[in-house]
Amino acid sequence: MRLIHTFTGLLTIIGAAFLFATAHALITDPVNIDPPPTNTGDGSVTPRDPGGNEPDVIESPVPVTTNDTPDSDLPDDALLDAPVPEGMLTLRESHSLFMQDVYFIDARHEHEYEEGHIQYAFWLPSTLFDTDSDRAYGVVDSMPPDATVVIYCVGGECDSSKNTARRLASHGFTDLRIMGVGYAEWVEAGFPISEGVEP
């Protein structure tokens, strides 16, 4: 008898949860987990400053560890052209876009970002839209929707980049690209990095 009482109670709780969840789903924004619309390659891009004016200066507030790598001193091809998941950027393509002054977004954890990130990259994990929307929209509003935006996380099949790309796409961004390699490969290649927080 107690067993039946316990299980009917459990079913009641599950039913109530479904009821509240349905009501919640009806009044909230739709949830989207489809693959984000992203572009590939380093073809035509819209940099930070498409008008040709002085680029927005994004100063790093802390000493910057910069290894500006001239093209003649690039790392070996094996690293630059390492295979990446379909539809994502290789390290060579990512660096090429960096040199064209496009926006970079770091979608990793905050402590990882503060320990080091691609130079001038903003920190924007998808969860920031829920936890600190002012900060998230501060980043979103600082970029024109038609700008080329490269998003990275720890590399490979990490979901964080895709999640951020999905959020940016929902805010009208049209040229989103995802790095198929992670921050570690960028550092290994000796490309420019910063520490701390970008303003």
């Binding site: 316990t6 109670g9 709780i13 109530a16 949860a17 969840a21 987990i33 969860t127 979901d159 999640n163």
Partner: protein, 190 residues
């Protein structure tokens, strides 16, 4: 297993074990729900990141789970906290914890880079990335859940107060002992 209860042991157990465990487990569940309910999109992304459900073929299931799990945590946590349908709530939370552990193990053994999102964006004891810490934490939380399923929410609960004439087995045992009668402790008759 079911030794006769005296008023003292029953009250002591309720005050020192069942009530604190209910407050701990129920409170944690409600806190987890509080962090997830305003961030359903993030929680859906976290469920997708666990790789348990294929996003191509089961995207609807992921979204349904993202909405239902936080509400289940909230309702079960609240019921456990106040001791209403306490056993059912503890059983539900225990099953949820087992489901979470299975998901965590899938991430660990699948070598997947995923965020736990166990408490939304907040971290309790463990970091945000999935690892053995979350598995151990959930295993530890299974202990009070199992105990409360076994012993019930105790005397300091709405279940006990509302039992009235339809008294709970514990109440029946206590009153029978007080009056000196023999108590049938067969749990199947409870």
């Amino acid at each position: 297993m079911n030794k006769p209860l005296t008023p003292l042991t029953s009250h002591t157990e309720s005050a020192l074990l069942q009530l604190p465990l209910r407050l701990l487990l129920g409170g944690l569940m409600m806190y987890a729900a509080y962090n997830k309910i305003p961030a359903i999109q993030s929680f859906a992304e976290a469920i997708k990141g666990f790789g348990v459900l294929d996003v191509e073929s089961h995207s609807e299931l992921i979204i349904i789970a993202a909405f239902v799990i936080p509400w289940f945590e909230l309702i079960a946590g609240l019921l456990l906290l106040i001791g209403l349908r306490g056993r059912s709530a503890a059983l539900g939370i225990g099953l949820l914890l087992i489901m979470f552990i299975a998901g965590l193990l899938n991430v660990i053994f699948g070598d997947i880079d995923a965020d736990c999102s166990c408490f939304g964006d907040a971290n309790i004891v463990c970091g945000s990335s999935v690892g053995w810490c979350q598995v151990i934490r959930n295993l530890i939380l299974l202990i009070p859940a199992g105990y409360l399923v076994w012993r019930g929410p105790g005397r300091l609960s709405l279940d006990h107060i509302l039992s009235g004439s339809n008294q709970s087995p514990d109440t029946h045992a206590y009153q029978a002992q007080s009056s000196g009668s023999v108590v049938d402790q067969d749990p199947s008759r409870a």
